[in-house]
Symmetry: C2
């Protein structure tokens, strides 16, 4: 749609291989969510097939709709457990023609994390505000065989807009904020090619980190203002358990991806301590007003942790909603619920 001057903002990391139906089922996010919101914010209606073959339709090319329950929003993010989405009405917005990407280098995790709320409170709303710890940069640099400016922690910041001057002014404000909070340098990528290189690096991090070791990835999310205690707390918990973590993610959303790596830990220690480490990380996340998945969903691998986020009554209510849609439990059985 960009060829038509239109814009569909959600851009999950799986953008090269995912389908729009999967995006709806998972309520996909991505870096641009900080300015533009997530998948649910762009879905105006759906057609879906229920477990018994019934076709249901809800919404359409409508900006307002309070006719019956909001079946569309109930289905978005339900991980394929309620119905199979077969048609979708998406909202498109005008494509902002100007874009500017920056990489801010910080001397410590803490200083970079502190810059996140400062940038967000500067009056400029970036279209991406990504946090990458130095270890992730180093691993990705080796993985890609490419030189990437190294530091203890980096913020990848993108601004967009429909006026070049506004975007440039915003970049100046963001630069000043970053420098005043201790950034060692802010590199500007003002050409499309340089921007592409930064995003290629960002998008390669997951694969690079995961190629090192057996791993488990967590998808913690907290109120943006609690991003600093989340990052520092995760590091403290990991250090206490003697496990390696590599962290990066969508800092502007308070959404931190924590990769817990086995590396050379003995199997018995990994098997014994992994769940305990994750539970402590999730308990911290929840104590900070957050929850256990921002954009990846629960599926199989996180379902045992669902009771950390919800009371038994809340889980029972969700199961009754599942039953209302799929009484025989044939749609994505075994997902979400422990």
């Amino acid at each position: 749609v960009e060829k038509e001057g239109l814009f569909y903002p959600p851009d999950p990391a799986s953008r090269g291989s995912c389908f729009i139906g999967g995006n709806l089922a998972e309520c996909s996010g991505g870096p641009r969510a900080v300015k533009y919101g997530v998948t649910k914010d762009y879905v105006l209606g759906v057609e879906a097939v229920c477990a018994d073959g019934t076709v249901i339709r809800h919404g359409g090319k409508l900006l307002k709709n309070v006719t019956g329950y909001n079946l569309t929003q109930t289905l978005i993010g339900s991980e394929g457990t309620l119905a199979v989405i077969t048609k979708v009405f998406l909202k498109l917005i005008p494509l902002p023609p100007y874009r500017l990407t920056m990489l801010a280098l910080f001397p410590s995790l803490e200083s970079s994390a502190r810059a996140v709320p400062a940038v967000m409170n500067s009056g400029v709303i970036p279209s991406a505000l990504e946090f990458i710890e130095g270890e992730a940069i180093a691993i990705t640099s080796r993985h890609l065989g490419r030189e990437i400016p190294q530091s203890e922690a980096e913020l990848l910041i993108e601004l967009d807009g429909d006026r070049e001057q506004r975007v440039n002014e915003g970049a100046e404000i963001v630069c000043e904020q970053a420098m005043s909070l201790g950034a060692e340098d802010v590199l500007l990528a003002d050409s499309a090619q340089k921007q592409q290189e930064l995003w290629d690096m960002r998008r390669a991090i997951g694969e690079a980190v995961k190629s090192l070791s057996i791993y488990k990835e967590e998808d913690t999310v907290v109120p943006r203002s609690n991003f600093v205690p989340l990052v520092l707390g995760v590091k403290e918990i990991a250090a206490r358990h003697g496990v390696t973590t590599v962290c990066y993610g969508h800092a502007g959303d308070g959404n931190l991806h924590v990769n817990i790596l086995k590396m050379d830990l003995p199997d018995e220690v990994w098997n014994r301590d992994l769940d305990k480490t994750i539970e402590e990380i999730f308990s911290l996340t929840i104590s900070l007003g957050g929850t256990i998945s921002g954009e990846h969903g629960i599926g199989y691998s996180q379902k045992k942790f669902l009771p950390l986020a919800f009371s038994p009554e809340e889980i029972e209510l969700m199961k009754r909603i599942k039953d209302a849609f799929d009484p025989k439990g044939i749609l994505n059985p075994g997902k979400i619920f422990p």
Copy 2:
């Protein structure tokens, strides 16, 4: 929150008397929805009390959240039939400091309706784009005892933004569009007081029209591009049934409020023909890709028309969702479902 430079956009007509809990229960809209969306777009989480007294919590100060089903969005717009909302996390955005309001006068219903998609396609996204038919203006002028520029149909258009120059440039584009589509005049309200006068007029229309006669108000909504056939079709249906309609509403959202007035129709004709007239209007709405309520909800008075919008299977599914939340049916009994 505006004193803090922040902005909560939803502004239903009931803003002087409604509560935020009711806004959530109805997914309230209002004029600004055309640019800013409706209530559901600003709710990040809720606490609610279920029919059995269980307190449930979902979401929070989180921009991303795919942990379990989206209970928050299921509750928004459910008209108090699923749970009682007792706490809410709302998203606020920066308050746009500049605002400019215009009243465009047109020689016919059709020319004003045609200007709606034209304005929306001009690249400027107005913060309000209200349609008012001439009869509504005349009635409101008499009701308020105030002179209001008269024409066959008018568009009340508001632009806002964080740069005065941008707002003024947008106004020029909108003016040109309106004039090129046949507007007789476009009046600019550039002072806060003149803007207030225009909005006071707009907000008085409902009361003014309804003071004339026994009435029933409909809340039709269609894709914006079908606003012209909706307005003309409603007038044709009303003329065929010999009933008076006065129409106004949020044209930028395709949301037309149709007031059907009894006036001096004999009781037996009104009682015989009213439902038939409404059914024809709703059937037209649905054939244009729309639905029967954009922002007012179904409640008691529209529930008999719900089967026009949904299949029996869709209504049964919604009833099973109701049962999942409120198995004894004690919350707002008798609402929504026929």
